[in-house]
């Protein structure tokens, strides 16, 4: 018997365009169909990968009922036409679902149990609003295990403004405006489109259509337009629909492989999984989660923010990103952070977002052979953070 730890690489990522929940792009489209389209496109884009070589399909969803239920990793694998011999499972860590799908199945590769996996996530917040069907244990409140505000993400964001009083609404709005501008520029430069797969969308009234780009971005957003928005979570508060990610629908997926297997099959190795870390915080300030998660990872690796050349951080709320930046002493507009914008503009279909961060980081690595390490990090409901450290396979500095 033997066990060999292996290097794990991110081969490729694909996602559906993100839609607005409610009356948006995917109002009449099933969540599992979004995952199926992603898996099939990953297979098409990587013809060197024989389907029977896939050892696991790990798909995350926060609300695992209806079309997001039925062990979605397995059911989507069957629906996508993968061989019956390919297993799959479902994962839930709320917003960090897809990120956890990557770390968990990636760890399985490193352990030697898998050669190749598909990891991704989906959330159709239109069909499955956050909190659908939940039944919180009454002890949470009776024993004051969590603050009542912990279950409403907007409230936790307002709480974070309290913890970081220097982060004002103006700073949050300015961050949001920049996110919109960066996404608009990235779109204009053709940075976003390569990772999208077009999706057939149904509407009884409008007929079939084709989703080809993200629906949430609002190019041209200004401080003035944001200033007038309501603060629904607190009277005269700070958090608005403009400085937070919206309610969105979408799916993402990635192929991960052992580096030697990727080489054997002629697959690309865009970046190398170095380490990851998760940490818990008080649920009522869940947005601060990336801070301890990242600190924990830095401590283990003996590195600091100085070693990090690119950061893809999920923008659930502007305040949560700003708290991270403030903690690590980075400027609000540090160019290493979300160079192509983030979820405030692109949208945040909860459990799918983690892999979007990775596919963007991988493409930025390809353009930046001078950068060796990058992070993908996100905050998680119920008070957590998750951070993944990646190494650029195109890094030339060492040569």
């Amino acid at each position: 018997m033997s066990r060999t730890a292996r290097d794990v690489v991110f081969v490729d990522g694909v996602r559906t365009p993100f839609g607005k929940s409610g009356k948006g792009l995917y109002a009449e489209t099933r969540a599992d169909d979004l995952v199926v389209r992603v898996i099939r496109e990953l297979m098409r884009r990587n013809p060197g990968l024989p389907a029977e070589r896939i050892d696991e399909v790990a798909i995350a969803a926060t609300t695992q009922i209806g079309d997001q239920g039925l062990t979605i990793g397995r059911s989507a694998a069957i629906l996508a036409g993968l061989p019956r011999s390919v297993p799959g499972y479902a994962i839930d860590r709320m917003c960090a679902g897809a990120l956890t799908a990557v770390t968990t199945s990636g760890a399985g590769i490193a352990f030697g149990a898998y050669d190749v996996v598909i990891a991704g996530g989906v959330e159709h917040m239109g069909r499955h609003p956050m909190g659908e069907g939940v039944d919180p244990n009454p002890r949470f409140l009776s024993e004051k295990l969590v603050d009542p505000s912990a279950l409403v993400m907007g409230n936790t964001a307002e709480n974070l403004h309290d913890r970081y009083p220097t982060i004002t609404k103006e700073r949050a709005d300015a961050y949001a405006v920049r996110s919109q501008e960066k996404v608009a520029k990235a779109y204009a430069d053709g940075k976003i489109q390569p990772d999208l797969v077009e999706v057939l969308v149904r509407s009884l009234e409008k007929g079939y259509g084709l989703a080809t780009q993200d629906e949430p971005p609002r190019p041209g957003t200004t401080m003035e337009t944001l200033a007038g928005l309501k603060t629904p979570f607190r009277a005269h508060g700070n958090v608005t629909a403009g400085n937070a990610a919206g309610l969105n629908d979408g799916a993402t997926g990635a192929i991960l492989a052992a580096e030697d297997v990727a080489r054997e099959l002629g697959l690309t190795s865009r970046m190398r999984l170095v380490d990851f870390s998760f940490a818990g915080v008080e649920p009522e300030v869940m947005g601060v989660g990336p801070v301890p998660a990242t600190e924990k990872l830095f401590a283990r690796q003996g590195i600091s923010m100085d070693d990090i050349g690119l950061i893809e951080i999920n923008e659930a709320f502007a305040v949560q990103v700003l708290a991270f930046l403030e903690h690590f002493g980075l400027a609000d507009d540090d160019p290493r952070v979300n160079p192509w914008g983030g979820a405030i503009a692109l949208g945040h279909p909860l459990a799918s977002s983690g892999v979007r961060l990775m596919m963007q980081l991988a493409r930025q690595f390809a353009e930046r052979p001078d950068v060796r390490y990058g992070l993908t990090t996100m905050c998680v409901g119920m008070g957590m953070g998750g951070t993944v450290l990646w190494e650029n396979t195109e890094y030339e500095g060492g040569k």
Partner: protein, 697 residues
């Protein structure tokens, strides 16, 4: 639009309009903008898209809007989930009163569809689901077609119903794939129990230019279309042979149609001729000829009969007249089959496959029993060999079908059917033995073809549990099941019989306990008239040919051979006993049986010389037309008597029985619409079977 169209729209006032909904889509690879037209009638797949005048006008509007645009590079048409479009809406057809209206409907289809083939940009049909008739023709008019490998049915069923594929089908299809393959779709398949082809075959036959899997069929089709638009894909189709091959194919189709129908149904003949002429016609000429054919056929009695027959098997068959409430049915968890002969084996296999419950066969003789069980196991192996079932299923089925020398094995059966020798005393004894071991509620069913259910039940403790359950041979092919209610049969037993029939996927028709029930009574009568003419001195070939104008699936003497002379004689004697005035027994048939002949025809399809000798005698030969007339008159008289006796609820049930139990054709609507059409019903009975157009429900 002309006033004839307005009139047509009114005739289709109940039309469920299939809307053509347009939406712009950005094609991949920067190919430009396309208009994607979705055909959707707003219902789920159980109510498929069809084209009535409203649907055609909606599609016209969508096409016209696209035609007016200069900013698009393509138009694509697709259906709703699982359905592309299944053809013309035929609900309004019976209401069409004159040729002008009929012509207008044909022409409207052409006027709209042809625009898809005459656009300033390429058009693409994305055949995502079931496509039939006019649905197929929409696709044929487009410049290109893609098809999903998940398409379960693709067909031009028009000639089966009494029409021609007259919205471009007879012209476009042979020009696309050649006359031979086109005639397979237009003639051969409809005349072979309305066979359909699947998506992969649509592609392999060259009807579609590309094949994609169902999971992301439309997306991949649009990628393909984008590459065609950009010139990255050039579609190459083999050139169609417009010489001898075309003519040969047409001649072959003529031969097929004549062989099957003897000119009895006009539609297939017309369709073949349209394909023949399409070779040298222009599009305008071809389409105009189709309009004329549709105008003639829409008003034809054969189409009315065909639509009636279609409704019989599609709708009436699903709601058997007179069946008790479903909720009264008892559960069937184990089935007993008394007997181990060929019929018993067929029944055991059917019950095991469809009900998925244990089936026990019994016989008094171990050898016969073993033979019976191994016949069933052999059939299961055949299914396995053909890939119709997998290994696990075959194991399950084999384990489910067992044999027993004693009837104790029936003790926990809920449904026991006997298929033993056709003799009252034998059957009575069998039922008495079965009753001794089963629960008081277990249903006792008999597959008798002519014995009285009431009498068979008369000496049982629980006669209310006995029902007639009469299958037709071959059991796997003929859908009909005559369910017979004896005098004492109760609703629970009857409801259980109907529920079981439904699970067996059989067409159940409720019959009174009358001699030979429906199909055998009428076929025996019909055959008896032909044999009667032979007995009077008509040449057997002449008599056999006399009823050919009906276009029946087989001639009377061929049927006699299939049934077997001995069985036919037996039924004929039973009926003669019951109705001596109307049912004669052919002396010559007696002689044939006595001589031990089991076949009428020699292997070369001429009448066996020895049988022919036995057929001689009599000195009053009849002409063919007189024989046909007397056979029809006998049928009309007998059906009226059966309806008066209450053998079945309505004339529609008689027709349903003949279509599903004897394979009688759609173009005669079974038989009563035909008897009405030729006037025999009124001559014989003083009134037709149907007031106005025949109604299936």
């Amino acid at each position: 639009m002309s006033s004839a169209i307005e009139q047509a729209r009114e005739l289709f006032s109940d039309e469920v309009v299939t809307k053509a909904i347009s939406r712009d889509v950005e094609l991949p690879y920067g190919a430009g903008t396309a208009v994607l037209i979705t055909l959707d009638n707003g219902h789920d797949h159980t109510k498929p898209n069809t084209f009535g005048p409203g649907g055609l006008l909606s599609l016209d509007e969508a096409i016209e809007a696209a035609r007016a645009r200069t900013d698009i590079v393509a138009v694509a048409v697709t259906g709703k989930p699982f359905i592309f479009a299944v053809g013309a809406d035929l609900t309004g057809v019976p209401a069409i009163q004159n040729r002008e209206q009929a012509h207008a409907i044909g022409k409207l289809g052409h006027d709209v569809f042809r625009k898809l083939g005459e656009m300033h940009v390429p058009t693409f049909a994305l055949v995502n689901g079931a496509a039939m008739g006019g649905g197929v023709e929409v696709a044929l008019h487009c410049t290109y077609r893609t098809v999903s490998s998940g398409v379960p049915a693709f067909s031009l069923p028009e000639t089966f119903l009494g029409l021609v594929p007259g919205w471009g089908g007879t012209y476009l299809l042979p020009h696309l794939i050649g006359a031979e393959k086109a005639l397979k779709i237009i003639i051969d398949n409809p005349l072979a129990q309305n066979k359909v082809i699947k998506g992969r075959q649509v592609f392999e036959m060259g009807i579609a230019d590309a094949l994609f899997e169902p999971a992301d069929f439309v997306e991949e089709s649009l990628r393909w279309a984008a590459k065609v638009v950009k010139g990255e894909i050039t579609v190459e189709r083999p050139e169609v042979d417009k010489g001898e091959a075309w003519d040969n194919a047409v001649n072959m189709a003529r031969f097929t149609v004549e062989g099957k129908l003897h000119g009895a149904a006009p539609a297939p003949v017309r369709a073949v001729e349209l394909v023949a002429e399409a070779k040298n016609r222009t599009r305008d000429e071809g389409f105009a000829a189709e309009d004329e054919a549709l105008a003639d056929l829409i008003l034809s009695d054969e189409l009315k009969a065909g639509l009636y027959a279609f409704d019989l098997v599609q709708k009436r068959a699903k709601r058997p007249a007179g069946a008790p409430d479903k909720s009264l049915a008892r559960k069937v968890t184990k089935v007993g089959v008394v007997g181990a002969g060929l019929m018993a084996g067929q029944l055991a296999l059917l019950f095991a496959r469809r009900l998925d419950v244990p089936v026990v066969m019994t016989d008094l003789d171990q050898e016969r029993l073993d033979k019976g069980v191994s016949y069933v196991h052999g059939e299961i192996d055949k299914l396995l060999g053909k890939g119709r079932i997998n290994g696990d299923k075959a194991n399950r089925l084999k384990a489910q079908v067992t044999g027993s020398l004693t009837k104790d094995a029936f003790s926990d059966a809920d449904f026991v059917i006997e298929a033993v020798f056709e003799k009252m005393e034998v059957k009575k004894q069998v039922f008495a033995e079965v009753e001794a071991v089963v629960s008081p509620e277990a249903v006792l069913a008999t597959n008798t073809s002519s014995l009285s259910i009431t009498e068979m039940a008369s000496e049982l403790k629980h006669p209310e549990r006995v029902v007639g359950f009469h299958f037709f041979n071959p059991v796997a092919v003929l859908p009909l099941l005559e369910i017979v209610r004896g005098e004492k049969t109760d609703d629970a037993a009857l409801a259980t019989a109907f529920a079981t029939a439904r699970k067996l996927k059989k067409t159940a028709v409720l019959c009174k306990d009358a001699p030979a029930f429906v199909v055998n009574r009428l076929l025996t009568l019909f055959m008896g008239e032909v044999l009667g003419a032979v007995g009077e001195g008509t040449e057997p070939e002449v008599a056999d040919r006399a009823v050919a104008p009906l276009g029946l699936p087989m001639s009377p003497l061929m049927l006699l051979q299939l049934v077997g002379p001995a069985v036919a004689l037996h039924v004929s004697e039973t009926l003669h006993e019951a109705f001596p005035d109307r049912f004669a027994v052919s002396d010559q048939l007696r002689e044939i049986v006595k001589a031990g002949k089991t076949a009428i025809f020699a292997p070369d399809f001429t009448i066996d010389p020895e049988v022919r000798k036995l057929f001689s005698g009599g000195d009053e030969p009849s002409e063919e037309s007189r024989i046909l007339d007397r056979a029809l008159r006998a049928l009309a008289r007998e059906i009226r008597i059966m309806l008066d006796e209450g053998v079945v609820a309505e004339a529609a049930d008689i027709d349903l029985c003949l279509i599903t139990g004897a394979g009688w054709p759609f173009h005669t609507g079974g038989i009563t619409p035909y008897l009405d059409k030729v006037g025999v019903s009124t001559e014989v009975n003083g009134k037709p079977f149907h007031e106005g157009a025949p109604k299936a429900l």
